[in-house]
Amino acid sequence: MKHMLRPTRPWQVLRPLTGLLAVLAIQGASAQTTITVASFPDFDRAVKAAIPLYKKKNPNVEIKLVSLSYGDHHNAMTTALATGANLPDVMAVDFGFIGKFAESGGLEDLNKAPYSGAQYRSKFTRFSYPQATNSKGALAAIPADIGPGTLFYRADMLEKAGVTQAELTKSWDSYIESGKKIKAATGAYLIPSAVDIKDIYIRSGLKDGDGIYFNKAGKAQVNTPRFQRAFELAKATRAAGLDANINAWSNEWTEAYKREKFATQAFGAWFAGHLNNWLNTEGKGKWRSSQLPEGAFASWGGSFYAIPTKAKNKTAAWDFIRFMTLDKEMQLEAFRKLDAFPALLEAQTDPFIDQPIEYLGNQPARKLWKDAADRIAAITVDKYDIVAKEIVDSELDNVLMKNKDIKQALADAQAQIEKRVRRR
């Protein structure tokens, strides 16, 4: 007994531990590979749907899904990339963060061997690869789904106001004119927020390789006619009382949908699912989808899968990513289950695309969305896009609420962006 109380040497204390580690190591080598997938709702449902399908093909691979809320997920991934710890094998990245993460250097360049992702480029929607490619030409992620932009409108309200769809979408001016008629006839707002119009307009007329806020040299291009007109349209909409001044996803916004206060909403195609599932379940058959006004094409959102440089199971992770993005059946499964418009072209040609959508009055709207997807310009993303957007939106608030001069607002926005991205 006395001997046991003698001071022990450090390694003696560790001995049982080393034994345990050895056991763990052996287990890891012989048994299944586990890959961790970090994702966020609703996108994580694709992974949940994939697990049984993937396990059928790869019984040796265990998939562990770690899901956090949208904001928490991306903050957690930022911290993980900063410290190089707690990184998953497969990281889901939303469109809003892909620019920042692609530029970070903490993700594998999927263009390089052994991935050689460039070979799959032609298999995906044209604009999706450039979004995940950083300024050094590295491919940071593979696109899983895309959000072709579309204009949802209430067919019944248009009819009541005597406005045709062609009239509504011919030009932005005719869109605003139609809005006035709709407001007079039904009392509904044309659009939740005038800011939405600005957001579509600044994306129209862009060519492949252009950026929304920055040019190729990384210089802000906000004080330009494109932004000028976008601000003017937003201001005209607000002045005519056509927008409810309600931001998407706010309580007001969801409540206004339940009370059928909006005549149109420009959004990604996935929004049909939101309308159907919770926002306006009673609006079944009343909504339709069309292309955006004045021949604009824009994308809303989109999701990607990336492999962190410090991931443990890169081979297994890459295999899983290929399954999620290149497997036609899997892409269609996500399309059917969560309205995730496939980035994979092969999945876009499936007969499923021609099927009528009951909620949209049996309109075969997916064909329309595919058409839009084909015509959306492959714009480049910049890691400072989010900063620029914050500044532009802030200045638009000044124009809409405080009647600030548009020219002045854009000049200020330009200066503010240059100030805040001072260390490009």
């Binding site: 904001g71 900063a82 920042k100 250097g105 903490g106 931001n247 914050e390 802030s394």
Partner: protein, 369 residues
């Protein structure tokens, strides 16, 4: 108990004593109080010989003395120190270090670039968003903080005098908001202040026939946030003041009543002066709290931020953005962790300065009491 306070300098004897004590303790169970107490006494006294006579003592011998028994207290207290080092001291020092670098955290530690005091210069001279957030913080600090005390002081006095045995129940009710989750509170208030469907607007409409107010407009949002902050912390201050009032000797009030003092005179001439130390303490807490204000405006303004905008930008015209939120957006929105750390340290300086100022104003003659 009867062991010498300064043990003999002989190390071997020391060790023998220790192992004997340990052995005894084991053999006779926990009933052997003198043995274990003696060990503690020896532990406490041991630094003395080390410093005085035992310079020549061999290192091996002193290591042998470090039995598990001796290590135990350090082991028991270590969780605090480990947690403090990992989550307290290290981030603190690291953020000072980072504040002199340009660093986008997503690039990993390798992406750090030395920029000297550039971050501080930018924040102080050029960062108009920081200046605005500081103004907002001061605005909300005064509008949300000052009424806390103006209400809590009389309320505490009222509760003290009016409710004998029910006092604690009422205090409990006032204290409730303080122990409720900030996020839950803010979400509830988001609904209450809703423009079209909120209770606040419905009430104002019914009572004063006002049009629906959009509380997220820049001219109202600070008022709304300040109200929520006030509502949340007024109970906490009431509890502080009430507990201080209860320590005021009853005979002072009795004497005042004998002299014919009214309730107001009692409050003005007895309660207030006697509460001065507590006022100083409570105001200090409020100053620090309001300069660190984050959760309430963060959650309340989140609803008004448009699609795809940075979280924590403070709503329309950044009217509800506090300085602490600016730290967050600079770091996690703009990926500029160096500047964010600089903002945090500048904020720390301001807090220190304000606390010192408060000490000058209120704290001076409380020290002597």
């Amino acid at each position: 108990m009867a062991l010498p306070v300064s043990p003999p300098p002989d190390p071997d004897q020391d060790a023998a004593l220790a192992s004997r004590g340990a052995g005894d303790g084991l053999a006779e169970g926990t009933t052997n109080v003198p043995a274990s107490t003696s060990l503690i006494a020896e532990d406490l006294a041991s630094p003395t010989p080390q410093h005085s006579g035992a310079v020549a003592r061999p290192a091996a011998a002193s290591r042998r003395r470090l039995t598990m028994r001796k290590a135990a207290p350090y082991l028991f207290i270590s969780p605090f120190f480990i947690l403090f080092l990992v989550f307290g001291l290290f981030p603190l020092l690291f953020s000072i270090y980072v504040s002199f670098f340009q660093w986008d955290a997503a690039t990993g530690l390798g992406g750090m670039e030395w920029v000297g005091i550039d971050n501080y210069a930018f924040v102080l001279m050029q960062d108009d968003w920081f200046h605005k957030s500081l103004y907002n913080t001061a605005w909300m600090g005064i509008a949300g903080g000052l009424p806390q005390h103006l209400v809590a002081l009389p309320l505490a006095f009222f509760l003290h005098t009016a409710f004998g045995r029910w006092r604690n129940t009422f205090v409990g009710i006032y204290f409730l908001p303080f122990i409720t989750s900030t996020v839950a509170i803010s979400l509830v208030f988001t609904s209450l202040f809703s423009r079209e469907f909120g209770v606040v607007n419905a009430m104002l409409g019914a009572l004063l026939h006002l049009e629906n107010i959009d509380w997220w407009q820049p001219q109202y949002s600070k008022t709304m946030i300040s109200f929520v902050v006030w509502w949340r912390y007024v109970g906490f201050n009431t509890v502080l003041y009430l507990s201080a009032i209860q320590t005021i000797p009853r005979d002072l009030f009795e004497a005042a009543i004998m002299d014919g003092a009214s309730r107001w005179q009692q409050f003005r001439h007895i309660t207030l002066p006697m509460l001065k130390p507590m006022i100083y303490f409570a105001v200090t807490l409020t100053i620090i709290g309001s300069l660190q204000l984050f959760e309430e405006p963060f959650v309340l303004t989140a609803a008004s931020a448009g699609d795809g905008r940075m979280s924590g930008s403070g709503g329309i015209d950044q009217a509800g953005k506090s300085a602490a939120m600016h730290v967050f957006t600079t770091g996690f929105g703009e990926n500029d962790f160096g500047t964010a750390s600089a903002v945090a340290w500048i904020l720390f300086m301001i807090i220190a300065l304000m606390t010192m100022l408060n000490n000058r104003l209120l704290g001076r003659d409380t020290e002597g009491r």
